[in-house]
């Protein structure tokens, strides 16, 4: 069975500066794949390249279809949801309006109404704050809102950019628990970018390690956890 998302020889650049140098990776259908690496390794850029938010070369396939070179809004319509770095909250809109925007590409009104209930079950705190301006939410709540907004589009693939950033460990743990539940119950595949390698390897089935825009190691999460160099450099024990 072919992978859900497959990148080959992927390059990306900002202006004249090349950030990714021929990356190859795959996300299996139904799985959670993690991309690990230090600051500036190109993790965020990898996600942005998948969504057509930077200038790229090489190929990206989603369900066998080439998506590189497509406009972001068209890629999203294929069933890829991207929770961006910085969470992408619409600060001046209410929680409910943020979620409505998540479902913007869908036309099935009845199912959207049910999905509101569904995400409020995953994130009860958002249910309590439906009418509140999203800019007044705490960092953790905004991260939850970002994941919830992505879910509202009924994606087949969820791209998660550094969900732990700036959050207390307990909040991060909660979010990771929900991501796993979404993956299990909804069958949404996940591509996760994380600096917190320990937590990411707990969650993921498969992982890639990036250094300065290249894949330097890949394998199952269990293998990578046991690897000595990873343990020392990224897990810190």
């Amino acid at each position: 069975m072919p992978a859900l998302l497959e990148a080959e020889n992927l390059e990306a650049q900002y202006g004249w500066t090349k950030v990714l140098h021929g990356l190859g990776f795959a996300v299996e259908s139904g799985g959670i794949t993690a991309i690990l690496g230090a600051n500036g390794a190109g993790k965020t850029t990898t996600l942005r390249a998948v969504c057509g938010m930077v200038k790229t070369a090489g190929s990206v396939r989603f369900e066998g279809q080439r998506i590189d070179g497509m406009a972001t809004e068209d890629i999203v319509r294929l069933g890829i949801a991207h929770t961006p770095e910085g969470r992408g909250t619409f600060m001046e809109l209410t929680v409910e309006e943020n979620l409505r925007l998540g479902a913007y590409v869908r036309k099935d009104r009845g199912a959207i109404a049910r999905d509101f209930d569904r995400v409020y079950q995953y994130f009860p705190v958002l249910g309590q704050r439906q009418r509140q301006q999203a800019g007044t939410l705490s960092g953790g709540e905004q991260q939850m809102l970002a994941v919830a907004r992505a879910l509202m589009s009924r994606p087949r693939l969820l791209l998660l950019d550094e969900p732990s950033l700036g959050l207390a460990p307990l909040v991060t743990r909660e979010i990771f628990r929900i991501v796993r539940a979404i993956n299990k119950d909804e069958g949404v595949s996940v591509l996760l970018v994380e600096q917190n390698a320990a937590m990411a390897l707990e969650l993921a089935d498969h992982a890639y390690l990036l250094e300065t825009g290249r894949v330097v190691m890949s394998g199952s999460a269990a293998e990578l956890r046991k690897d000595d160099s990873i343990r020392r450099s990224y897990l810190g024990y």
Binding site: T72, P84, Y104, Q133, G135, S138
Partner: protein, 293 residues
Amino acid sequence: MDIFIQQVVSGLATGGIYASLALALVMIYQATDVVNFAQGSMAMFSTYLCWSLLQAGLPYWVAFVATLVIAFAGGILIERVVIRPVENAPILSIVIVTIGLLVILVSVAGWIYSYIQKPFPSPFPNKPIKIGNIVFGAHDLGAIGITLVVLLLLFLFFRYTTLGLAMRAAAQNPTSSRLCGIRVGWMLALGWGLAATFGAVAGMIVAPVVFLDPNMMGGIQIYAFAAATVGGFTSPLGAVVGGFLVGVTENLVGTYVSFIGTELKMTVALAMIIIVLLVKPSGLFGRSFVRRV
């Protein structure tokens, strides 16, 4: 007292015109951070088109609606053809482009229709309406009515439709909007279309009063700037309230402060701009929204 009420009502009528044009300015400003100096001349041009339709024998309200549709399409066309190529240029360049557009529209209107003033019909009866001792112009009341209907429609559109929500989202956070699948470029074009439509409403309401000529919106655009500044350039509601406020203030000051009279009325608008900028630069309703940091 009678004079006072009469002046307030006629102030509200002109205020409604300022409000429509101010609203158009605010819509484009919110979406793109650009102050569109050509807003008034776009309105003037739409009004000329309406005049042509009327000359061709169309009934007033048919011509009115047709003009709104043409203005909407024209606004979109202007965004696509004139503004889009300079989209990523510095703000000042875009502002200069809108000033260029102003000059072009005024000249083309003058070239096609000449600079001689033309009378423009009002859809409302000529007969004044008398309540007690107070006489209201029917056109004034009609102008207030039309403005309120337009504002209500706009409010409902932005508040309750998905497209309206998407337009607000695209103005606030384009990157995130794209990730939601919103075609941001089209939302901006749509904003220009709607703004042109409000401008056209303002133009057609004001033309019976000031007569139709290529420069008829020049002064009104300044009042609209005052209205938008008073209300706050970031708030559609503010633009509306600001419009009515400027209209009424201008009228009352003109009536009761003898040395100002009708000749120095426009100074009132400019004074209001300056006072608001000194005291509360974000305007009465300008957003200072809460954010947790």
